[in-house]
Amino acid sequence: MTEYQDYLDFMYSLLDGHNKDNLVLSETTELVADIGLSSLEVMEFVEKIEDQFDISIPLNILPDVYTLGDFARKLDELDA
């Protein structure tokens, strides 16, 4: 079963290419405020996670997601 840390590690790998300011990525890094993903890029990011872990992520959980940690936690809950 996929754990919180697996989701987080995959997100780090996905964001390598997007991280223009060379931020040190952590659980508290914000997808929009820190990394600057547009709404479209957020959706592409979501799709890649869905494909990797063979899950569907309901859009309903996204309004509460700010940081990578928030997202990994939500996915962990979804999985459970």
Binding site: S56, P58, L59
Partner: protein, 397 residues
């Protein structure tokens, strides 16, 4: 501050104003015909109006609206559930159901209210909406209101839809799959045979928004589901009066008798004034013309095929297949604005579409072709202005 979140839009509008461009909210000062008008002080060919059969200016539709205004007044001043159901509304519902060869139909005051209201009502908490990623804003708005779980599948990708239904397991039975016949931005058509096959295998309910395909596709002009031969597998079809039918309003038809009960639960149907009798009357006339004059549909197809081939031969990046929506995709905002401006100067009005309304980071110059476009105006829409100095060469996507 309440207004800070609008700063980005104020900056964009200021940028456009600085370039003396008004693509959003261009003002039509005079309508000359279904395809020509004076816009922002300039005589232009209307190539961005969704007036697919040219019926907005048909004398028979105009007369029908005038007669209805004389007979019923200009508005109903009430909801369908109160004083706002006139004989005209019931007749149009009967005629739309007959047109789609089903027994049940609801009309709405706008197309947005139809798709939003149906998506908001058909599913609720604990159930699932499976939306094509490129769905119209009205579908997303309804999804948000529904309280259902909202899952997107990749645009026009039946395999991705199948994967998601498989993940849902038994919950597939409580899932509404929402797709569009023709997608409004790039003019591409949904692969409905494959989507219907996925539904057969995994279950679910199928809702198709035929806003851009009704009056355009199918032997009888019923839309993409008719063209694909899958109408019997579709649960709900929504459409609009504001494209092929040239007026304003929307509808939903279904073979399920439960639609008659659902009617009383749709907030965008209950808590708004019903359509003006003028709109209903001219829509009824347009629906008759749509059915009795298939030549209009053939003319439309001929026109959009010619425009599509014309733009293709110029090497422009256009949608995947010919349809009444023919959009050119550009990467650069300034270039898109310059092209829009050059086209206006050449006497052609098209739609400028910017992200996030466009389905990617591209900017679109969107043509909407009409059966009423003369061959001259169709060729004129073939973007001659793009060859103007300073615009060409285009940075192609």
């Amino acid at each position: 501050m309440l207004f800070e979140k609008f700063d980005y839009m104020a900056r964009f509008q200021a940028e456009l104003n600085a370039q003396d461009v008004i693509p959003f909210g261009a003002v039509t000062e005079k309508i000359l015909s279904a395809t020509e008008a004076i816009v922002n002080g300039r005589k232009v060919i209307l190539a961005g109006t969704n007036n697919y059969l040219g019926l907005s200016f048909d004398p028979r539709c105009i007369s029908a609206a005038q007669e209805a205004a004389g007979k019923w007044g200009v508005g109903t001043t009430g909801s369908r559930l109160a004083n706002g159901t006139f004989l005209e509304h019931q007749e149009l519902e009967r005629e739309l159901a007959a047109f789609h060869d089903v027994n049940h139909s609801i009309i709405f005051t706008t197309g947005f209210a139809a798709t939003m209201g149906m998506c908001a009502t058909l599913v609720g908490p604990g159930e699932v909406l499976l939306l094509d990623a490129d769905s119209h804003a009205s579908i997303y708005a309804g999804a948000q209101l529904s309280g259902a779980e909202i899952i997107r599948f990749k645009h026009n990708d039946p395999e991705d839809l199948a994967r998601r239904l498989r993940r849902l397991g038994d919950r597939g039975k409580q899932t509404l799959i929402v797709v569009e016949g023709i997608y409004s931005m790039l003019g591409d058509t949904a692969p409905l045979q494959e989507i219907a096959a996925v539904k057969r295998e995994y279950g679910g309910w199928l809702f198709i928004d035929e806003a851009h395909s009704m009056g355009v596709l199918g032997t009888h002009g019923r839309g993409a589901a008719e063209a694909a031969g899958v109408e019997s597998e579709v649960d709900f079809i929504a459409g609009t009066f504001s494209k092929s039918l040239g007026a304003t309003g929307g509808y939903c038809v279904s073979r399920h008798p439960e639609l008659e009960t659902i009617r009383y639960c749709i907030r965008s149907y209950i808590f708004t004034a019903s359509s003006s009798p003028m709109m209903v009357a001219c829509t009824r006339k347009a629906l008759q013309i749509l059915q009795s004059e298939p030549a209009l549909r053939r003319q439309l197809q001929d026109n959009f095929n010619r425009l599509y081939k014309g733009l293709q031969s110029l090497g422009l990046p256009i949608g995947p297949s010919p349809s009444p929506v023919v959009a050119v995709a550009l990467e650069d905002r300034t270039q898109a604005i310059n092209c829009w401006n050059a086209l206006m100067e050449a006497g052609v009005y098209v739609n400028l579409v910017v992200p996030p309304a466009s389905p990617s980071t591209n900017f679109l110059l969107r043509n909407s072709v009409s059966a009423a476009h003369s061959s001259i105006s169709v060729s004129a829409c073939s973007f001659p202005a793009m060859a103007a100095p300073g615009v060409w060469p285009l940075k192609l996507v």
